[in-house]
């Protein structure tokens, strides 16, 4: 399948970008792992659950309606159930490699002249004793399960950690019938007040959440942290304690809160694997973009949380700009930034607010002091904090990669997505960009089978063979394939627990596009209509 612009991710950034480019006559294909558009922010209940009032679990619903209706009226082709594992090529011809459906064992490719990455973020959780107990979930995970599955994990919840996400999670769980006994936020009013000017625009939103907390009788515990989760085989309660001005736990302030659910999060981490694979420059954890949302890799744009966590409204503005820029450049013309000036102003203001939020809601400075040596840090490989510390202090590891080689921390299924920052924090090690040539586990048979695809007849230019070029330290697919491809096992550094999943079928990469009827009717663009 060939398209002009392929957008990876159907959240706010991806949809805004797709609609902006589509409105300017570009053939756009959006690929997303989920069953429908929306991303994590506008994650929708499964259709079969027939929710007649899904907006009860959402904020800024009108913006979603505009995006959804705009998509339906546009010429944008949406490919759902596509789990993208790498994007290869450039600068004017790319191939998106995906695995289809929940089984993720059927390959699909999309060829495009340009790529727009709107890959979003996943949650950041720092470890503490007991955090691997069933009943402890990420704050965003509890929200995701609620939004799509209409289900809650228990009866009594504590929501804890830091950051603006905790508020809607607490109020969402409470509205859905969970008793939320406390909202434990490590930041204090003083830290937030320090950034009051930059956060002024966020005040109404915050006030709305505060009112809902009050209504659901959620006790806010500012400047507090969870120091331990209790339970044998599942969560029975947590100990929370107060923090002093420096972020140390204040002695003698610990108290026990019974609960069967702990929803915990310490902010969000951008998903940058595909950008890294394409050689895009990263600034720390985020993809670097210019004023047009272009990455350093020619032909590759990025928008939304991957370029810096800042919320849905910022993602919409960035997506809009990226889509317009890509549309102009695909036509060989210089884009006119004056055309997107309102979006650029919004982007500027929201980036400032995002930086302030980031500073105000930093995890407690001394979180590592609470992590006992027997606490599991790498959840996949069951590596304890003691082993991680020994690698650094006893064996002299000076970076996260060496700690991984010595302990297996970060070597498992999640490839360090859950523990890399914790390993860095516990050891004081420098945290290198993670470098994950495969953004998700891929059956070896499919890796081996990508070779013919590179010579697909509709590919005008030779491709960059990503797996071979970017993963010299891993088993070469071609050599490994004969004995492993038969079993259909995925490639993971931890190949002790391979996936052998039956094909679920039913998903095709050649679905007909959404109605093209309204192509010339200037489809509504969420940003232009919905943002200040």
């Amino acid at each position: 399948m060939r398209t002009e612009l392929v957008v990876v991710g159907a959240g706010p950034a991806g949809l805004a970008a797709a609609l902006a480019a589509d409105a300017r006559g570009v053939r756009v294909t959006v690929v997303d792992a989920a069953d429908g558009p929306g991303g994590q922010f506008y994650r929708q209940p499964a259709a079969e659950l027939n929710a007649r009032r899904p907006q009860a679990l959402h904020h800024q619903w009108r913006t979603w309606e505009r995006l959804r209706d705009g998509l339906a009226a546009s010429g944008v082709r949406l490919l759902t159930g596509h789990h993208v594992w790498t994007v290869t090529g450039g600068p004017d011809s790319f191939t998106v490699h995906a695995l289809l459906g929940p089984g993720q064992d059927e390959p699909a490719t999309v060829h495009a002249d340009a790529v727009l990455l709107a890959t979003g973020s996943h949650e950041h959780v720092l470890p503490f004793p007991g955090w691997t107990l069933p009943g402890v979930v990420t704050a965003g995970g509890a929200q995701a399960m609620l939004k799509s599955g209409l289900v809650v994990p228990g009866r009594v919840a504590v929501v804890a950690g830091t950051g603006p996400l905790l508020l809607p999670v607490a109020t969402g769980l409470a509205a859905a019938g969970t008793r939320v006994s406390a909202l434990v936020e490590s930041a204090g009013p003083r830290q937030v007040a320090r950034h009051a000017r930059a956060l002024a625009g966020k005040l109404p939103e915050g006030a709305g959440h505060a009112a809902r907390l009050l209504r659901h009788r959620v006790r806010p515990l500012a400047r507090h942290t969870v120091v331990r989760a209790h339970g044998d085989d599942r969560l029975t309660g947590v100990t929370v304690a107060a923090l002093d001005a420096d972020g140390h736990v204040r002695r003698g302030t610990g108290r026990y809160l019974p609960c069967d659910t702990l929803a915990v999060g310490h902010g969000l981490l951008p998903q940058t694997d595909l950008a890294e694979g394409l050689g895009c420059h990263l600034d720390g954890a985020t993809v670097t973009v210019d004023a047009e949302q272009r990455t350093s890799a020619p032909g590759v744009w990025a928008a939304g949380e991957a370029t810096g966590v800042g919320g849905a409204a910022l993602a919409l503005a960035e997506g809009h700009i990226a889509g317009r820029s890509a549309a102009a450049r695909l036509r060989g013309t210089e884009p006119d930034p004056a055309g997107w000036a309102p979006a650029a102003r919004t982007r500027e203001a929201l980036r400032t607010a995002a930086a302030a939020l980031d500073a105000a809601f930093a995890p407690p400075a001394h979180w590592a002091a609470q992590v006992t040596d027997d606490t599991v840090v790498c959840r996949c490989e069951e590596v304890t904090a003691g082993a991680v510390r020994e690698a650094a202090d006893g064996l002299g590891a000076g970076d996260v990669r060496t700690v991984k080689l010595l302990t297996r921390a970060g070597m498992g299924w999640c490839q360090g997505r859950m523990c890399a920052t914790a390993v860095a924090g516990l050891t004081g090690c420098h945290s290198d960009p993670p470098r994950r040539p495969l953004a998700r586990p891929v059956p070896l048979g499919i890796l081996a089978g990508t070779a013919p695809d590179r010579a697909a007849p509709d590919r005008p230019a030779p491709d960059r063979p990503a797996p071979d070029r970017t993963a010299p330290d891993r088993a070469a697919p071609d050599r490994a394939a004969p004995d492993r491809a038969v079993s259909g096992r995925p490639v993971s550094e931890s190949d002790r627990s391979p996936s052998e999943q039956a094909s679920t079928g039913g998903l095709s990469s050649d679905r007909p596009p959404h109605g093209r009827l309204a192509r010339d009717q200037n489809p509504p663009e969420a940003f232009e209509e919905g943002s200040p």
Partner: protein, 99 residues
């Protein structure tokens, strides 16, 4: 209040699956993880090393903590795989390959 009532859901008819031999009702559209949560089950895997119980953590397919054996296929992410009528869901011990 419960989540289904909150959004005024009118789900299609429930079907049954088995979980470690026990029959459990599941609503169409829910993932295996959501069906298990709705049945009051929060863990369905034991770890390879110390045999500790695990269930959903990230809920969006990133952490791989919710791996489960469905219809004899181990290592399915329960938070991504939709529940289907008649699914045989089993707690996954370790790699899921010994049993």
């Amino acid at each position: 209040m419960n989540p289904l009532r909150l959004v005024r859901a009118r789900p299609a008819r429930a079907f049954t699956v088995t979980v470690d031999g026990r029959t459990v009702e599941a609503l169409p559209g829910r993932t295996v993880a959501a069906a298990l949560w709705a049945a009051g089950i929060t863990s369905w895997r034991t770890t390879r090393g110390s045999g500790r119980p695990r269930g959903v953590f990230c809920g969006i397919g990133v952490c791989f903590d919710c791996l489960v054996t469905v219809n004899d296929s181990p290592n399915q992410r329960a938070c991504l795989v939709p529940a289907r009528p008649g699914d045989v869901i089993r707690t996954q011990e370790g790699t899921g390959h010994e049993d």
